[in-house]
């Protein structure tokens, strides 16, 4: 049993460790560059660039993989550290890896539409990779990027060979989807007209408000435990930086995405139109691997698993990962168990 006098001592010890952790944190470099060097990039306008990471394996080159990341965060979470890098894992397996970096929308980009992203930059990137590598790339779509990848696969099937979706929402009206519920009564078009590009701070506040006790309380209450563990503290700081280093959202595309997907569920019902063309999930015939996280509070499992009932893929597989949304990309368990399975699926002919 702890004596009352121990309470003060426990708090004081916690504070001493906090001070030590903050001291150490102050000395650590924190930047938003990925851990893996890339060799070339193509600029598609509006700040969108395509990076190429060369394959690192010596046992022969595999097919190119194009990573399509979400618009709402920066992609360096996929290359957080050398030990926790999805990009490096793919390069090590022999894939030339391409990453479409959406950049940070500026003032005049408020008029960019989903069509500009999907039928523009993404379609061009897939075309350029095919020309460069001699074959259509496999697509690895992550979260919102998975939606963009599904649209490309449905609209331009020749540009996609195989498709992996990671934590990708397809049915945006499942009962346990709190983000979707919160979006139902918001006038996104008016917000886009008034605010212009949607500020990252606004979006981050919404995401944090989904788990405030953990993200604003528990996360920092446990920070002192990292004192003296330089590596863990560095990982913590990199993740912390990533969480709040989000770009503003191009106003028109953001309103379109929120309205069409989260309010009208248009992707699920085949009512989403991109550049005048209907996106029908049934048009996706490529092999699909659908990975979802079992404790995902942003994309609940039913929201991701809805894909299976709508695609007519030549083969469709699901992988359930026991963890949360971010755990899919950065957890040790993901790098030990999940990512090797994704790599193995991509290696199949």
């Amino acid at each position: 049993m702890t004596e009352p006098s121990d309470t003060a001592e426990e708090l004081a010890a916690w504070q001493r460790r906090l001070v030590q952790a903050l001291d150490e944190a102050g000395e650590l470099p924190v930047d938003t560059r990925g851990a893996t060097p890339f060799e070339a990039h193509v600029v598609y306008g509006h700040g969108v660039t395509l990076r190429r990471y060369p394959p690192r394996a010596t046992g022969g080159q595999r097919r190119p993989v194009l990573i399509v990341y979400s618009l709402v965060n920066r992609p360096f979470i996929l290359d957080l550290t050398e030990r926790r890098s999805l990009i490096r894992a793919l390069c090590d397996a022999g894939h030339p890896v391409y990453l479409l970096d959406w950049g940070r929308p500026q003032g005049a980009d408020r008029f960019l539409t989903l069509a500009d992203y999907i039928d523009g930059a993404l379609a061009k990137a897939a075309r350029d990779i095919r020309a460069e590598e001699g074959g259509a790339p496999d697509l690895l779509g992550i979260c919102q990027g998975g939606v963009l990848a599904l649209c490309l696969a449905a609209l331009h099937p020749a540009r996609v060979r195989r498709l992996v979706t990671l934590a990708t929402p397809v049915d945006c009206r499942t009962p346990d989807d709190h983000l979707s519920r919160m979006a139902q009564h918001v006038d996104f078009d008016r917000a886009a007209r008034t605010l212009g590009n949607i500020p990252a701070e606004w979006l981050n506040s919404v995401f944090v408000a989904l788990k405030p006790y953990q993200l604003l309380g528990q996360r920092y209450a446990e920070l002192p435990e990292l004192a003296g563990n330089r590596e863990a503290l560095h990982d913590f700081l990199r993740l912390e930086r990533w969480m709040y280093d989000s770009p503003d959202q191009a106003a028109t595309a953001f309103a379109e995405f929120a309205r069409e997907l989260y309010q009208r569920n248009a992707l699920l019902y085949g009512r989403l139109e991109i550049a005048g063309q209907r996106v029908r999930l049934g048009d996706i015939r490529q092999p699909v691997l659908n990975v979802f996280a079992q404790q995902d509070h942003l994309v609940p499992p039913p929201a991701a698993r809805a894909l299976g009932a709508h695609v007519r893929a030549s083969s469709y597989e699901e992988l359930a990962f026991p963890g949360g949304h971010l755990g899919v990309f950065i957890s040790r368990r993901a790098h030990r168990e999940l990512i090797p399975r994704v790599v193995s699926w991509l290696a199949a002919e």
Binding site: D6, T7, D187, T194, L210, P212, Y213, Q218
Partner: protein, 261 residues
């Protein structure tokens, strides 16, 4: 000098001691590690603080919606349509209209903010009740262990509080309140923009509308340029295909020439 040397540990201790969880932890310790009278008093005190905050929010909401609080005069609701009508007369009608819109937007925002904050505080209050109940149940159950440190108590609180918060997020009440708050905030910002735009226009300075108009034209020009580039690319490809076909035909003729009879 290292930050730790400069850091005022006394200040840190006072901040830590002022938090609700260290406060509860101290009460739990005063009860000998099992929830008793000190713990019950600490929970009561926290509930009272929350109730005071909730009462303030309710007063704010009632004031905004025109319901008189204690000791206040009845708001002249009948005046509003008359004032709106008045705003349609005279040389300053646009300016008066903008001001009235801004006031209405501010009222809607304040009401929506109060509604959301009330819902959140009620969830915190219910979370605290759950925590108190869980501590009591754990004390009565010899199979279970009570929190052994302030940090562990904090984890109990995070689980109890977050569960109630998530229940609120999953409710239609919260969806509607959040929608109203977001839309009211947008409206309030829009009315401020309208006021500023008008002021800048009077000073012959570029305003938001001017910037957006320029951005729109720029975006249109970029689209046109992109379309033209695409069209040029297709023309070039067609010319190249025609040229290649010609070459193939020539080669075919050359290869067939000597052998043909």
């Amino acid at each position: 000098m290292a930050a730790s040397e400069a850091f005022d540990n006394e200040w840190l201790r006072s901040v830590g001691g002022a938090g609700p969880i260290p406060y509860l932890w101290q009460a739990l310790q005063a009860d000998g590690g099992r929830p008793g009278s000190a713990c019950a008093a600490a929970f009561r005190s926290l509930h009272t603080q929350l109730d005071t905050a909730l009462a303030t929010l309710r007063t704010l909401a009632e004031g905004v919606t025109g319901q008189a609080g204690p000791g206040e005069e009845e708001a002249p609701g009948w005046l509003a349509p008359w004032l709106q009508g008045l705003a349609r007369l005279g040389p300053w009608q646009e300016a008066v209209g903008r001001t009235q819109d801004a006031q209405a937007a501010l009222h809607r925002y304040t009401a929506a903010y109060s509604e959301c904050a009330t819902a959140l505080l009620e969830a915190v209050r219910t979370g605290l009740q759950d925590l108190e109940a869980q501590l009591g149940e754990a004390a009565d159950d010899p199979e279970r262990t009570l929190p052994q440190s302030c940090q562990e108590l904090h984890r109990w609180w995070t689980a109890a509080g977050e569960a109630r918060h998530e229940a609120l997020l999953g409710s239609e009440r919260w969806a509607a309140a959040f929608g109203r708050l977001t839309n009211a905030a947008t409206e309030l910002i829009g009315s401020c923009q309208a006021q500023l735009d008008a002021g800048l226009r009077h000073l012959d300075l570029p305003n938001r509308e001017d910037f957006i108009d320029t951005q729109r034209r720029l975006a249109q020009l970029e689209r046109e340029r992109s379309r033209d580039a695409g069209s040029d690319e297709i023309k070039a490809l067609r010319a190249e295909i025609a040229h290649l076909r010609e070459e193939v035909a020539t080669l075919r003729r050359q290869s067939e020439g000597p052998e043909s009879p």
